[in-house]
Symmetry: C2
Subunit: 475 residues, 2 copies
């Protein structure tokens, strides 16, 4: 069986693009280990097709032999969704060679690309043509657009431009039967049937394989200005967000919140970064204003906004970046929190969302709950407040053994946090997806009717359950 | 059977809310006839539930007896999608009594409402609270948000805010089995599984019944300014659109194009409207600039934009509205085209979309083709150029019998236009949906793999095929 399959795969993509463990010196760990090193599987083979037709041929070969397929882009996911299990029976389908830019249509504001294109390359291609492709996230240097779409990636500009789903107009998909859906439309309006595009987006490779996409481009802003403000409470941060929406309209492209402990970790472990305003305030906020006119105009808007916020008592102190370098510096502080946290030791990560209006109450309640349950526990709370998305991470008490803490408390902490999220009508996975890591949680936290609909769709589109099995829906 | 069903329906919603033809003086034509008077069906009963639980009970009663359900909102659809067929066997489920506003969350920028709310009421509620709900279309005085979502309605502000789909964060849905999916999330990020929301949106009631929705609100713009420009060619209109994106960024909330013949009809049939600039130019464009700052600022932006456009030769003449009344007047001209066209006589309507970059070539080719095939035919071409959506309507030659023209030529004209749309990778239904009117066209113009996926999903979620049968997918 497996020999027949390997022969069929080699015929489909060429022998050089089928990697197996029995080759001399073979090391497939780059494909078999996930980004956070939480799982190390073993693939039957790593297959690297170079065209959509080859992807379809691989899927047909697997379907014919009942072989499971795990699609993989840049393998930077955070929920163990793109590595094979440890049975040695799954085919790892890497999309990385499918990386052509098929078209840039300036008048239509669209960019059509293959799944394996690295996100940062697409940002660069857009910018060189005078446009913005606004998807932006920490892994952009190695993640691929196919993976971004398969997981409906979020990032820092969701507030203005939406998630990956909102940035995509059309898809090309290889179905579980190995057929090709040619849905690469560049249309902004198309009401000819069910929204298959958005069904495949965010399905984490469990319904089919995205091989190409038509993406939206935006005009490049004339200026981007960044401000950093100390706020006295989370309520004040939420009020400031509302004011920023009013004053800046669609110019508001970033609104990040950072707790004092999180910023303290950056200050401690990366003293060269010079974190501003964090010492006297429980939270700081980073705001970004993207302006279609000029830097001067953006600065004037920021000044009026911050003046009003001071008067209202929602901001206690603030700085506006004087240069692009300073702006990058402020963003760099925000983006360094995960690393600073890692320096401090292992911790329990959450990627949750809550309606913005409930975030202050959620944090007050959950902070207190965790303190009560685990005295001395430290909360590294930061995130995209503008979209209600918090990375509400839990660090061992000072001086405690972090590994022991993680082993002993992770399940309990997850339950405490997820139950609180449920009470506030939030989501236990805002932007990272479900993968294997959270698949077992869904039956507990997801509406049962929604789960039933999801299972019915999975059964309809992938009746053999060969597409990334065990991800999203547990078996 | 039918007596049992009627008893069950009466038990579900109360006898007063089950209307049948055998009641003395019964006239159900308001529910049985479509907006454009293209079809008049006969319902077994019109059922008007007052709560989501009642909707679910109605669906269960119908499912138990194998009775088809046709859901209806404001019954303003343009593709015969919400009236019963003429067999007298279908239950017409009116959502109009489900019209409560459940919540307005200002800090979260969300509005949660029931399906039967009239669109204009929601616009007003949002505005009174200081926000914008941007969905806007001709039928807004009587269409309902449930229908808007079921058909993924478009309208005039899609360019900036997207279609109905893009304005919705969460849904409450009664499934074909009569279960309730409680998906009324107000979250902007939620990656916990398949995108059921977007699957139900645009499915035209064929997969389940939307009973409530959580909608996005936006800050109210401080000023909205409207300009009217004569352009020498469609190429110039497309170039002006690109320039407007650059200059106005997200401030560009409207970009409508109107052909000379369309404007001439308004000038002839509604002389009181005083159409500007149309006589010396093949096309005029209406631009709207929504500004978060001030009218003065918006005016300055418009002036710079139009100055550049003049220099480039993309605009030959332009006026900027001096007052809100003038702005409304310009929009009123645009919105009067369908009526002026009706005054001129019956015509063949199309609601197509094409990648913006291809619109000039599409129009040149298709105009010439139709002229060749049907000498003297007149083209009422107008639409939302910003989203590539044209209402490319075909009027009988001057002096010809319009009714005879329609009867004799509609199929042929549709084929000519739809084939041209297909050559340019466009859509034969941009914003109106499929309904019954275009269901037979889909197998010819839609990707066969996409159609297969749609049929598999329909079968999975509505295996009895009782939900709005014959719509979207022909039997």
């Amino acid at each position: 069986m497996s020999a027949d399959l390997l022969a069929a795969l080699r015929a489909a993509v060429g022998p050089a693009q089928v990697l197996t463990h029995d080759a001399p010196g073979a090391d497939l760990s780059a494909w078999e280990q996930d980004w956070r090193k939480r799982a190390h599987g073993r693939a039957l083979a790593v297959v690297r097709p170079g065209s959509t037709a080859e992807v379809a041929a691989v899927v047909r070969a697997c379907a014919a032999t009942g072989t499971a397929i795990v699609p993989q882009g840049g393998n930077t996911g955070l929920v163990v969704g793109s590595v094979p299990d440890d049975t040695g029976t799954q085919v790892l389908l890497s999309l990385s060679r499918l990386n052509a830019v098929r078209a840039l249509d300036a008048a239509n504001l669209t960019l059509t690309v293959e799944a394996g294109c690295v996100l940062q390359n697409l940002q660069d291609i857009a910018e060189k043509a005078g446009f913005l492709f606004p998807l932006s996230l920490a892994a952009e240097g190695s993640c691929t657009i196919g993976g971004n779409l398969a997981t409906n990636a979020g990032g820092t500009q969701v507030l203005r431009y939406g998630n990956a789903r909102d940035l995509c107009l059309g898809l090309e998909v290889v179905t579980a039967q190995g057929e090709v859906w040619h849905g690469l439309t560049g249309l902004r309006k198309d009401n000819t049937g069910y929204d298959l595009r958005d069904l495949f987006i965010g399905s984490e490779g469990t319904l089919g394989i995205i091989t190409a996409a038509t993406l939206k481009l935006y005009p490049l802003p004339a200026a981007q200005l960044t401000a950093w403000a100390a706020v006295p409470t989370l309520d004040a941060a939420v009020a400031l967000l509302g004011l920023a929406h009013q004053h800046l309209g669609a110019g508001l492209t970033g609104f990040e919140v950072m707790g004092q402990f999180a910023l303290g970790l950056v200050a401690r472990h990366m003293p060269q970064l010079r974190v501003p305003l964090w010492q006297d305030s429980p939270y700081c906020v980073l705001l970004e204003n993207s302006d279609s006119e000029s830097e001067e105009h953006a600065r004037g808007q920021f000044e009026r906004l911050l003046e009003t916020a001071f008067e209202q008592g929602w901001v206690s102190d603030a700085v506006v970046a004087e240069s692009l370098a300073q702006a990058h510096g402020l963003w760099h502080i925000r983006e360094s929190i995960p690393l600073a946290q890692a320096e401090e030791g292992l911790n329990i990560k959450h990627d949750i969302s809550i309606p913005v209006s409930s975030i202050p109450a959620f944090c007050a309640e959950t902070d207190a709950l965790l303190q009560r349950e685990i005295p001395g526990v430290r909360l590294v709370n930061f995130g995209h407040l503008g979209d209600g998305n918090l990375h509400y991470n839990v660090q061992a008490p000072a001086g405690a053994d972090a590994k022991k803490f993680l082993n002993g408390q992770e399940t309990r902490v997850n339950t405490l946090v997820f139950d609180a999220v449920a009470r506030y009508h939030g989501s236990i996975s805002a932007e990272h997806g479900v993968g294997s890591l959270k698949a077992d949680h869904l039956p507990h936290y997801k509406d049962p009717v929604a789960l039933g609909l999801m299972r019915a769709i999975k059964q309809a589109l992938d009746p053999q359950h060969l597409m990334n099995p065990g991800r999203v829906l547990s078996p």
